[in-house]
């Protein structure tokens, strides 16, 4: 019976080692769970951030595509350098009717078909004893209808003739109507803005957000009327240029820039005193903001994961010491240093990856719940998204953490002398 035998390749199969490692984790379930919790919390945070970021992006994309692909917005002042800088844009006074006239000349901007200025009017609207503070915008109602697909429920959107005549007409949003007139319609009633009476010619249905504006809380009056009677100003807060074809947007952007630099007498090398924004540019800005936010939060989470990894290393060292006799025995029955190293390393990596998987579930569930709450309590149409890059990245990163923090305890285990390990009490 004790005969010589053939030695095949005697490499331990990975699947067997995985089984061993799983068994090792299974013998101390509560310790395993607490240890992987450190990783799981970090990963849950990453996944929640990534999912909420993707959801936010989805919302903003929906808004931006509502802007239409064929419009270009021009704002006064230099381009905003960030969120906090946007205020400075609205107080600049560099855009006037002269600019619009120049842009609408075919020889300057051949693909511009229309341009509409907008001004912001501060203050309240009153009707009888009711007062409400809406967002009052001076601009063309017909233009708004055509560009943003906003149609009145009752009445009409006033047109260019009203704008030219500086007519005292207004289109009001759903919530404005409700605040001032209750259940009845305000159509053809007279509302007062800064002491001047306006006739309500159109009432909008409930729309929520359109192109970043809360349309339900909006009152729209002709910009000419607003500038002459309410504001006493000749500059605009923004104007929107409609381009004949979305394909010509990029070209037209350059044409507008050249035209405005000319009308503003800017020297070559001087910075623009206006900002041109296209929907795609807007998207880029949004992405930049979201990306920097994500990177910042991920860095914080990475630190948390490293702390979790140190916890893993600590527990693995304890485990290696506790299992000294087991290591000695395994070596006595034929385990190589490599077998032991692989077993303990895989155990650490499985621990972190289980933590990662658990974190993905928790983070995903959290983001999903947040989405449900957003849809329930706001008018936003939130779509739950779980970016697969984040899921994959989290799993790879936790694997990496397991590798980095598992290697030291695993090496320590593999180098134990079998005889000393067997004698260990």
């Amino acid at each position: 019976m004790a005969c010589s035998k053939v030695t095949h390749k005697r490499k331990m199969k990975l699947i067997n080692t995985v089984e061993l490692a799983l068994h090792g984790l299974g013998t101390k379930p509560s310790r395993t769970f607490l240890t992987l919790l450190g990783i799981a919390i970090g990963v849950a945070a990453v996944i929640a951030i990534a999912s909420l970021g993707a959801g936010t992006r989805g919302l903003i994309i929906a808004e931006i595509s509502g802007l239409g692909a064929d419009v270009i917005a021009v704002q006064p002042g230099r381009p905003p350098t960030g969120l906090a800088d946007i205020g400075s844009v609205f107080y600049a006074e560099t855009l006037t009717q002269k600019d619009i006239d120049a842009v609408l000349r075919k020889e300057n901007v051949p693909h511009a078909v229309n341009a509409q200025p907008f001004v912001l009017v501060p203050g309240a609207v009153t009707y009888g004893n009711e007062t409400y503070y809406p967002q009052i915008i001076g601009g063309g109602a017909e233009f708004y209808r055509d560009v943003f697909d906003v149609y009145p429920e009752e009445g009409v959107m006033y047109g260019d003739s009203d704008t030219n005549e500086k007519a005292a007409v207004a289109v009001i949003g759903y919530k404005v109507n409700k605040e001032l007139f209750g259940q009845s319609s305000g159509l053809n009633e007279k509302i007062t803005i800064s002491g001047k009476k306006f006739k309500v010619v159109g009432v909008l249905p409930k729309l929520g957000q359109v192109a970043f504006a809360e349309v339900d809380e909006m009152v729209m009056i002709p910009h000419t009327t607003a500038m002459t009677y309410l504001l006493g100003q000749t500059h605009f807060n923004e104007f929107i240029v409609q381009v004949d074809d979305p394909a010509n947007v990029a070209r037209t952007e350059l044409d507008i820039e050249a035209t405005l630099r000319d009308t503003h007498d800017l020297e070559p090398g001087e910075e623009n005193d206006f900002a041109i924004r296209t929907p795609s540019q807007l998207m880029e800005q949004v992405d930049t903001i979201l990306l920097s936010l994500t990177i910042f939060l991920s860095a914080v989470v990475a630190i948390a994961l490293v702390v979790g990894g140190i916890g893993i290393m600590n527990i693995m060292l304890v485990s290696v010491t506790e299992r000294t006799r087991e290591i000695g025995l395994r070596k006595a029955v034929g385990a190589t240093n490599g077998d032991i190293l692989t077993q303990f390393l895989l155990e650490a990596m499985l621990l972190t990856m289980l933590g990662g998987a658990f974190g993905i579930l928790v983070g995903g569930a959290f983001a999903y719940l947040a989405g449900v709450l957003i849809n329930t309590y706001t008018q936003l149409e939130w779509t739950f998204a779980l970016p697969y890059e984040a899921v994959l990245g989290a799993l790879l990163f936790t694997m990496f953490i397991g590798l980095v923090f598992g290697i030291y305890p695993a090496r320590k285990a593999s180098r134990k002398s079998p005889m000393e390990a067997l004698r260990y009490e």
Binding site: M1, A2, K5, T7, H8, K9, R10, M12, K13, N16, L20, T27, R325, E326, G328, L329, R330, K331, A332, V333, G334, A335, T336, N337, D339, S417, P418, M419, L422
Partner: protein, 224 residues
């Protein structure tokens, strides 16, 4: 053909200055049943560690099938431990929270035995030590005699040439000890080489040959 084990003038000193072995020379042929006898502290356990590739000697030559430790790679040594040697320890050294079956399967993890044969081979080994009725019990629930029989099954499962038994009955009552010795004897009859380490003359009598160690030196080598 070279002997299974060839020991020439083996010594072993530990870091604390203890000289556990002071020159032991002997050979063991395949198929022998040898008892290494001696009072406690005589160096017999140290000798076993050297012969079992668990700890290297300080000087002298130890050849296994004609090869010294230095001529073997780390992987080769692990392979010898796995395929050619089986250990039965006084402390049993089972994995307490695992079943008898998994304890016996353990050496096959590191062997070339295909996984589908593991369970059957383990069951056969457990049958040989007459523990089939306990096969699914966790090791810590067994009595000392049963534990030692599991350890023997584990030592057998890869069908090694050489079985080392280090005071296998040291922690057992007389009856369990006898059962363990009967198994070792039958293994010898099946052709395995058995090296038994004990301080107990009654136990040593089961072997065919006795090496008596005292103060780290081989005092006598007798056939019984």
């Amino acid at each position: 053909m070279s002997p299974l084990i060839e020991a020439i003038d083996l010594t072993k000193s530990y870091d604390d200055g203890t000289r556990a072995l002071r020159g032991a020379s002997f050979t063991v042929q395949e198929g022998e049943f040898v008892a290494i006898m001696g009072p406690s502290g005589s160096g017999k356990s140290t000798l076993l560690h050297i012969l079992g590739f668990l700890d290297p000697q300080s000087s002298g030559t130890f050849r296994f099938r004609g090869k010294t430790l230095n001529e073997m790679s780390h992987e080769e040594i692990a392979r010898v431990r796995n395929e050619e040697l089986g250990f039965v320890f006084q402390q049993f050294n089972l994995l307490p929270r695992q079943t008898v079956l998994s304890n016996v399967i353990l050496p096959m993890y590191y062997s070339s035995v295909p996984k589908r044969e593991w369970e059957e081979r383990a069951r056969t080994a457990v049958e040989q030590v007459d523990l089939t009725h306990r096969i699914d019990h966790e090791a810590f629930t067994l009595s000392g005699g049963e534990k030692q029989r599991v350890a023997i099954a584990r030592a057998l499962v890869n069908n090694p040439n050489l079985i080392f038994a280090d005071e296998p009955t040291g922690n057992l009552d007389t009856k369990s000890g006898k059962a363990v010795m009967d198994i070792l004897k039958s293994l010898h009859e099946q052709g395995h080489t058995v090296i038994l380490i004990t301080h107990d003359m009654e136990i040593a009598k089961h072997a065919k040959r006795m090496l008596y160690i005292r103060d780290g030196m081989l005092e006598s080598d007798t056939q019984t």
